[in-house]
Symmetry: C2
Amino acid sequence: MIMATSSQNMENISVAVDVMGGDFAPAEPVAGAVQAAREQGIDVLLVGDSDIVEAELLHHVTDGLNISIVPSEGVITETDNPVKAIRERPKASMLEAAKLVKSGQADAMVTMGSTGAAMASATLVVGLLDGVARPALGGPMFRPLSSAVLIDVGSSVDCRPSQMLGFAALGTAFARSIQKIENPRVGLLSVGDEEGKGNRQTKEAYPVFKGSNLNFVGNVEGWDFFQDKVDVVVCDGFVGNIIMKFAEGIGIAVSQLIPGLVGDKLSPEVVSKLVSLTSSIDIGGGGPLFGVDGLVLVGHGRAQAVGIAGAIALAQRARQERFVEAMRRELAGLL
Amino acid sequence: MIMATSSQNMENISVAVDVMGGDFAPAEPVAGAVQAAREQGIDVLLVGDSDIVEAELLHHVTDGLNISIVPSEGVITETDNPVKAIRERPKASMLEAAKLVKSGQADAMVTMGSTGAAMASATLVVGLLDGVARPALGGPMFRPLSSAVLIDVGSSVDCRPSQMLGFAALGTAFARSIQKIENPRVGLLSVGDEEGKGNRQTKEAYPVFKGSNLNFVGNVEGWDFFQDKVDVVVCDGFVGNIIMKFAEGIGIAVSQLIPGLVGDKLSPEVVSKLVSLTSSIDIGGGGPLFGVDGLVLVGHGRAQAVGIAGAIALAQRARQERFVEAMRRELAGLL
């Protein structure tokens, strides 16, 4: 997780946390929010059913922290149809959190709930930036092995070149504003680095990328994530989603073999470091939805307090670095 | 590498080895061929420029081994245009090896040369099985982490449903005959396991797979390689090639971090075991081209003697298990 450093001039930032969403709600989201309030000095708005949140808060010492409760009714789960659930439960925690962002009462929201519901809530409540038809998903998915931003990882499939160029602009905004890369190198994920290599989709997208004002470095291949050749890797959401899940699976598979191989020869701490190196292939607690006219961060359903606090810290950093404005600027630059 | 076991009734098998192809030719192909002749009792035909091969053989003890030299002229390299090179160098080592397979003088050929040239040689010289338009690439790419066969990994992109069904039949033949899986489970690589999930291509292929006589278990996702849910994973060559290279890259990236993490705490042997666990994500020395009417095995250009000997042993096993007949049978079953 990228943390804000104390040398920066901190603004007073408020983050709405959907404490009803995720596999370990409400315990872990509340614990993560309290941690972020304490360690990062963030104002947190806990959005959830009041009695549940109040009961959960009793487990924590919150004196002197800026923590408040914003009541909501019900929750949208992973198995719900997002649009239907939003219609049926208009006061669900995720929607109430999104309303706080829309109204400006919160600078950002963080949810560990359903990604599909978060995308729908962001679209319907917060709104999208000009030129964006649908929020995109991505981020530096393969840290610590690679810091390259992969976009899209599953929001849209069968994309047209113009959509893929939009992903490139949004990824560039992340690399530039959050990762502080001056002139992010954009690559189109393909099966060979020459212009003619690829499928119909990448062959059509290539000249569009080449003609844009992005810093397009051409096609990149699967291994180029790990070669410092590219900062923003653009692909169709079908491909990106498969790679993301493949990486998660391979990391877990390697990490499960490690204790058997070296468990008796290494301290538990070193084994756990190795296991976490191989299994931590994700963007930590959460990443922003790309293309939304506001900060909506979605984390892994299985995230625990540390990861959720990290997502809240990333929300703070995204706010400080004006990530939404950066996205707007990059998209406008395409025109 | 899958090795033939001594309990099997060994036939006298001959394998043509293109000793001019690959990054370490001729030294490593010759060394690998000598090793296979010694350890597996295979008759090896070394195909290459006579003086070069003869000089190289002087470094080895070959008494009592069935090793012969088949002269060829020139080599097709990675940077050549395969079809053009085949026309210009009709006696190149790869082509002479393919002719030995076609004429029945060799039961199989192994090359570490250009995959594109091997595909072209197999197509033009050895011929394709009925219903196959182009050789496919694949195999159990992610051992030891997964034994699932991935097909196609780059020979064809923008595939139609019928082509993808062909990949499924060819992968099934491998799993059934070589891996001895009785009723291989076939999955379509997609972004969700429900029938409706996927891109246009997988949505069109799904009913075609469902209506076939293959053991189709539905869509599978990126992490399912590592979950024992599927034996044959079918995808477009665009997707498969990206995953294959991604896995190679991530394996190397992890393996490079390991010595720094644990190098001072573990013996060099254990470190190298860990490194090889994470970086050995490939099908060893080589795998067969799928859909060819004969055994043509292509290995990694960087393969060394051990890997090449493994590829030759796999060729032996593929011959013993009647892999070509198995492919023909599975393809015929689709009709």
